[in-house]
Subunit: 231 residues, 2 copies
């Protein structure tokens, strides 16, 4: 499916809990990152972890992050502190016949490493384009690009996808044999999956737009990317 | 609306970026935590942050976490290491007239502190009940409770909601005056919000269930809790 090298686990990117859920194909890492909208960035500040949500973009094996040059977490990451960046998609609630086997179906990518602060103007623009296009495809071309002052206020970082793990749970509940036997009773405990998905609603125009301004194709297409969303 | 004390910001729970988005009512913290399904737990392992998704439960100002007694992140948290626990709900993609003002609508709660490993059997059961009922309301009563062996394999932790912050963005894009003026052109750049929400699909019964087993009310009600979900 892909010519990219498989995910090579290091000690910290090795899935230890429920290892059967680990995925080693790099294409699966890309798939989770491309399907997600936000990730959770963890950095260590004054000895304690801080976890904050943030958008991102991807190009090949490079993940782009950005934010205000004044943000403490981003400043720590830009200074080379180790980071963890995690993207999780919840696909369903797993109902089992025992409370113990209740679970969730999900796809999760965890990236470990140190980020690099971009200083080259062209590289920075590539990063901002990747970030914009991940969030709102087509907006990089359709809207006013950042000017000098906006660029100066924005830190753009890269994180290499060298050290990453992917974990996926799907399908029906796992059960204990004894609970399955008990399920032969006339009134069995229901078990199965309640699937969840993200959908887009009708676009809500900015009140300052002239009445009747058409919703552009890029916004319609973005909505359609979510299964079941308004096409 | 609530008799609980407001969120008292400490240096690390003070919202510094876009402070207008900070919320100080404790009821808003509860609302975000109760609306979320998973959070991202950050701990420091060997000097580096590790961020992993996990379920949770809440009772008053106590957050419950659980997992395998063998999980390294949970073991570190149980040993009293500082943690960060973040719950984020993405409510929409915000399209602006400039790339710089593109954003997301979201609700986010960040909790800082040190977790405590529960050892009292009754407290542990209360925690597991809160966790189960957060994920799958009704399942604590309807399904087989954890037995001695399952309990021994499960670590249950509490995290106090003493130090927490809540940040919310909603509404239309913020814009620069100049972009609004330019929007007076005959072909204005579309701006607005593409709302996103999580919906539940049709419950998928476990293949091992007898054909025709009815989907119980607790599962139907869970689905209905997501706006637009199958009632």
């Amino acid at each position: 499916m892909t010519a990219a090298p498989p995910l090579s686990p290091t000690p910290r990117s090795t899935v230890r809990r429920a290892p059967a859920r680990a995925r080693t194909d790099r294409a699966e890492l890309y798939a989770v990152l491309d399907a997600g909208l936000i990730g959770h960035l963890g950095v260590v500040l004054a000895g304690a972890p801080v976890v904050l949500p943030t958008g991102y973009g991807r190009s090949g094996d490079t993940l782009y992050l950005h934010g205000s040059t004044g943000a403490a977490t981003l400043r720590a990451a830009a200074a080379g502190a180790p980071v963890s960046f995690t993207v999780t998609l919840v696909d369903g609630v797993v109902y089992a016949r025992s409370t113990f086997h209740h679970s969730m179906n999900y796809r999760c990518a965890v990236v470990h490493g140190s980020a690099r602060l971009l200083t080259d103007p062209a590289e920075r623009l590539l990063g901002l384009e990747a970030l914009t296009e991940h969030l709102a495809p087509g907006s990089w071309t359709a809207t006013r690009r950042p000017d000098r002052k906006e660029l100066a206020a924005t830190a753009v970082l890269t994180l290499d996808l060298a050290e990453a793990s992917v974990k996926v749970r799907s399908g029906p509940p796992g059960e204990d044999e004894r609970d399955l036997l008990a399920a032969g009773s006339p009134d069995p405990v229901w078990a199965g999956v309640l699937p969840l998905r993200t959908v887009a609603g009708e676009p809500e125009p900015c009140p300052l737009l002239p009445a009747g301004t058409a919703v552009p194709e890029r916004v319609r297409a973005r909505a359609a990317r979510w299964a079941g969303g308004t096409p």
